[in-house]
Amino acid sequence: MTPSPLVPTGGATVRAVNDEFHGDLLEVSMGPHHPSTHGVFRMVVTLDGERITKLKPVLGYLHRNHEKIGESTSYLGSMPYTDRLDYLNAMTNNWAYALAVERLGGLSVPERAEYLRVILAELSRLQNHVCLAGFLLQDTGASGTPLMYAFREREKILDLFEALSGSRMMCNFQRFGGCRTDASPAWLAQVAALVGGFGRFLDEFEELITGNEILMARTQGVGVLKGPAAVAAGITGPMLRAAGVGYDIRKVDGYGLYPRFTFRVPIGAHGDTYDRYMIRILEMRESIGILEQALRDIPAGPIMDPKAKLRGFRPKPGESYGRIEGPKGEIGFYLISDGSANPYRYRVRPPSFVNLTVLEDLCLGHTIADSVVILGSIDIVLGEVDR
């Protein structure tokens, strides 16, 4: 065994990978077809009994070279493809891409469109987090009940997406310099009704499961990730905040109109799976607050930058990196333009992919049952991991 040359930086854990052959170690390949790998993801797990002594993530089963497609498609043509990255959060993917292109082309966004973006992003965050809570609890073995409750609420949000953008998941809604369609007052009233009832749903959901001793036993102290290690490993999103680092791009970058809204950033003290679950619940409560403010303040006005062109968009040569706080973490797009209709380089910075870096560290020493729960708490979507 050669010691891993991985130097611990800022408290990052050193990997104790023991490559010696032991007769009683069992190598199990979890995935790509496994009920709880959230898609075609594979973990090659070496078990000592039920304890994990080694875990190697194997990716790429869903790889379709999204970035290459992006380089051979026009700027507008890549927009529907971004829906398919993290297919739970098409709205935020669209926004991140639109943001990068707007920076590249020097476009501005009208106020109403910014409000709409905030509303849609927060709705997207709600449905992503509620999904995650459902999946995570499903992974702990709850026979579908929390998942079904979560999906019931998610359906309502997807219905809203469908009414506005025409599609439930593949929204393809944002455009460079604004949004595609305007929201009717009736639609905004529907959102308000949903937001009004969401808090009650969260209360019921928490009553169902948060205080459950089995859940606490399964998640507390499992998969502990501490702040410095998380920062070094590039962890973003709720996972980073669960590790105790209050880094939220909505606050830090202040993109969109987020500085106008008051909301808090919950942080966890333990960095374990329970914290990662609870941070999402708390973030949903903050999102409800943002949505209420946005629905109250949304102004009338145009939704597209008059400078923006739908067809034949050719930004000047240059490059830009735009990132937003997606529900899963920092989703960024890096674009290089050479002045033609297609980007010279189109790069996605996928939060799920980078967050997977620490999977092995979190799982080592835990049991195979924990690995499933830890993977669930990282919140990956394979459309984004593999691209």
């Binding site: 498609t73 026009s74 507008l76 043509g77 890549s78 927009m79 529907p80 493809y81 829906d83 398919r84 009940t145 409750y149 019931r152 359906e155 219905d159 469908e162 009414a163 506005l164 953008s165 025409g166 599609s167 593949m170 393809n172 455009r175 595609r180 369609t181 019921e204 009553e207 169902l208 499961i209 948060t210 205080g211 459950n212 001793e213 089995i214 859940l215 606490m216 597209m304 739908l310 067809r311």
Partner: protein, 214 residues
């Protein structure tokens, strides 16, 4: 005390069990083949070609085979071949029309970009979602006969947008007619006054604006 959280959870599930029988807010399921949810107007699934009349769909397609959608389609699932002859379009102008219009529904990702870029309101997104077939080769490649649907259908699925489009087209037709009339008048006056320069080039139709949704 150990078990309090468990009992709380049991309480919630019991409430839901009872609630699902009398509270429609809880039991939100739609029993699909019998019941169907009302689709929102914005719903999009697969494009269709708008034709003016239901009787002669091929003769009255709004599409003028400009091939913009073919170029803009991100997965490149559209193929258009221009016709050799011309026929009058929605505004009464002589236009070429698509001799072949193919959309590969196995590749189409329902992104609506073809609709957004179409300057002629000729392609729109459908509400049809029961599009499964048992044959995965030819049945998934739809030709213009399969794609054409009359304007009345468009009105049926998207009343607001269709009314807006019709209004705009009517205005354009009117403008075109007036221009034609003016041109005829001018011709007549030109005939009366042979010294006037011949207006060989017919007044160019106002290029229609891109779809209002942009």
């Amino acid at each position: 005390m150990l078990g309090s959280g468990l009992l709380q959870g049991l309480g919630v599930t019991a409430k839901n069990l009872v609630g699902s029988f009398h509270d429609p807010k809880r039991l939100t399921t739609v029993e699909y083949p019998e019941q169907k949810t009302k689709l929102p107007e914005a719903y999009r699934n697969f494009p269709f070609l708008v034709s003016e009349s239901a009787e002669d769909p091929m003769g009255t397609l709004r599409c003028v085979a400009c091939q913009i959608c073919e170029k803009e389609c991100p997965p490149q699932c559209i193929f258009i071949e221009k016709s050799k002859d011309k026929k009058p379009d929605a505004t009464g102008k002589m236009q070429i029309y698509p001799a072949v219009f193919l959309i590969d529904s196995s590749v189409c990702m329902n992104c609506q970009i073809c609709v957004e870029v179409c300057p002629f309101d000729a392609i729109k997104m459908d509400h049809e979602y029961e599009i499964a077939t048992t044959e995965r080769f030819n049945a998934l490649l739809l030709d213009r006969e399969a794609l054409a649907k009359p304007n009345s259908y468009f009105h049926e699925i998207r009343p607001e947008e269709a009314a807006e489009v019709d209004g705009r087209l009517a205005a354009e037709r009117k403008a075109a007619e007036e221009k034609a009339k003016a041109a005829a008048l001018a011709k007549a006056s030109a005939a009366a006054k042979p010294a006037a320069p011949p207006s060989a080039v017919p007044p160019k139709a106002e290029p229609p604006k891109p779809s209002a949704s942009a």
